[in-house]
């Protein structure tokens, strides 16, 4: 049985830029190799995507159905 990967959850709703992006990048610093970061966002963090790509992360960002977005980040 494989060990469960760590899931880090962030609620970035209601925060002003650049706090959501800073919280995500800060949390990724301590994320396990097989960990997953899931962040609730007010908007699609389009300026974060290139940063994640450059740092070697994979991600998805989809509407959460209530006007916000859910960002999921893992290591490549």
């Amino acid at each position: 049985m494989e060990p469960k990967s760590t899931i880090v959850r962030l609620d970035n709703r209601g925060l002003s830029p650049p706090e959501p992006m800073m919280r995500i990048l800060g949390a990724l610093e301590t994320l396990d190799t097989d960990g997953v970061l899931i962040a609730q966002m007010d908007r699609e963090p389009i300026f974060l995507f290139a940063e994640l790509h450059d740092r070697g992360y994979r991600y998805t960002c989809d509407p959460d159905g209530s006007g916000g977005y859910v960002l999921e980040v893992t290591r490549q």
């Binding site: 002003s16 650049p18 800073m22 300026f47 940063e51």
Partner: protein
């Protein structure tokens, strides 16, 4: 569907809905005036007509930018896209009449009426929106100061236009021109750029906003502009004290921005902040030159060149890469929610953008250096600057076109961010 997706085109809380189409229209008009300013600079030199084309660029950018930013920064109420577009058109018409007047057309009087009316409507409306804001008290206060300076500058300018139209002695218009310039450039555009930079720099750099809570330099700049404007035609000591305050404020602000950038989490400095670093150097240079000009009056044209062509225009063009990309990307997503769009991080043509920055820098420096002491070779500066300005606008337009004309099966899908899934 489109409206709900457009509504997400905000830099902040999703509950702060704003329609960016009015802002897009105002910024497009602003860039058209910037191109006109560059063309006039090359073909007719640094005339008052060319100067006011650049002024129109700044005012129209401010109309678009404030419409987009007010709800986000201050939780102030939103404006309808049609209202902003109508206001932008009125300003564009007024500035066109004013510029035509400087080239000999009998249009000073209608220009004064249209610009004064537009300014009153915009300032009163914006102050009303600011007053209803729920947060960012210091941002709102600084923006209110900038708007008050704008209204005063336009009031003086309208009076000057009336004099140029033959309603009074032209010599009176010339005597108050320095106050008009100080309020327009320092009080309105300068304070506006300073205020917006307080939010944009940490946002673009991804750096902590807490380190950015030092507002004293901004208020020192406000105080300096007020003292300098009040003293320019009367007290040399007062003008020097005011301008010295502005010098200290701008150097401190530049140092704050550099400290913020040094603490950034973003791996690579983006194009907007690269432009910003150059612009802040021009800001300090403009303030220092203004201070020196209280002794060497021939330097006043250099102050205008450093402030208008260097500091303000380069800052605005730099921020435009980010803002225009953001707005048009959101517009494309609104039209085609499932489209795989080119990633914003790789959408700017960097060689073109940095080539433009190099030309703008060289052109503004050459203009400032040659205009007062070697006007016979100052054309080199105008040409370099205009080439840089046109290249920058083409670069920004190319970025916008990438998203405005994107299709579901368009080019660039291979670099869509979703491809990294």
């Amino acid at each position: 569907m489109a409206d709900s997706l457009y509504a997400n085109a905000v830099i902040g809380d999703a509950s702060l809905r704003n329609d960016p189409r009015g802002s897009e229209f105002a910024i497009a008009l602003a860039l058209a005036f910037y191109l006109a300013g560059c063309t006039l600079l090359v073909t007719t030199g640094p005339t008052l007509g060319a100067l006011h084309a650049f002024a129109a660029f700044i005012v129209l950018t401010a109309v678009g930018a404030l419409n987009q930013l007010l709800p986000v920064l201050t939780h102030a109420p939103n404006a309808r896209a049609g209202s902003i577009s109508a206001l932008a058109l009125a300003f564009a018409f007024g500035f066109s009449l004013l510029i035509a007047g400087f080239y000999g057309a009998p249009t000073f009087a209608p220009a004064a009426v249209v610009l004064a009316t537009s300014a009153i409507v915009w300032v009163v409306w914006s102050l009303f929106r600011l007053a209803r804001g729920e947060s960012e008290r210091r941002t709102r206060m600084l923006l209110a100061v900038a708007l008050a300076a704008f209204l005063t500058a336009v009031g003086i300018g309208a009076g000057m236009a009336g004099q140029l139209a033959g309603f009074a002695e032209v010599s009176l218009a010339l005597s108050i021109a320095p106050i008009h310039a100080m309020l327009a450039i320092g009080g309105f555009a300068g304070i506006l750029v300073i205020t917006i930079s307080y939010r944009f720099v940490p946002m673009f750099a991804i750096a902590h906003a807490e380190k950015y809570g030092h507002w004293a330099p901004a208020w020192t700049a406000v105080l300096g502009v007020i003292v300098a404007a009040a003293s320019l035609t009367g007290s040399t000591i007062g003008a020097r004290l005011g301008l010295a305050s502005v010098v200290v404020a701008l150097i401190t602000l530049g140092a704050q921005h550099l400290t913020t950038i040094a603490s950034r989490l973003r791996a690579r400095l983006d194009v907007s902040l690269q432009y910003g670093r150059v612009a802040w150097t021009f800001a300090a240079g403009a303030a220092l030159t203004a201070f020196a000009a209280t002794w060497i009056t021939e330097l006043f044209p250099s102050v205008i060149a450093l402030a208008l062509l260097g500091w303000l225009s380069i800052t605005i063009l730099g921020y435009a890469y980010k803002v225009v990309g953001f707005l048009t990307w959101q517009g494309a997503k609104a039209r085609m929610p499932a489209a795989r769009l080119p990633a914003l991080g790789s959408a700017v043509d960097l060689p073109m953008a940095y080539g433009a920055l190099a030309l703008l820098t060289a052109g503004a420096l050459a203009t400032a250096a040659f205009m007062p002491f070697a006007p016979q070779i100052a054309q080199i500066g105008y040409d370099l600057y205009a080439l840089g300005g046109m290249t920058a606008v083409v670069s920004i337009a190319r970025l916008a076109a990438l998203y405005l004309f994107a299709s579901e099966e368009g080019r660039g899908t291979e670099i869509d961010h979703r491809a990294t899934r």
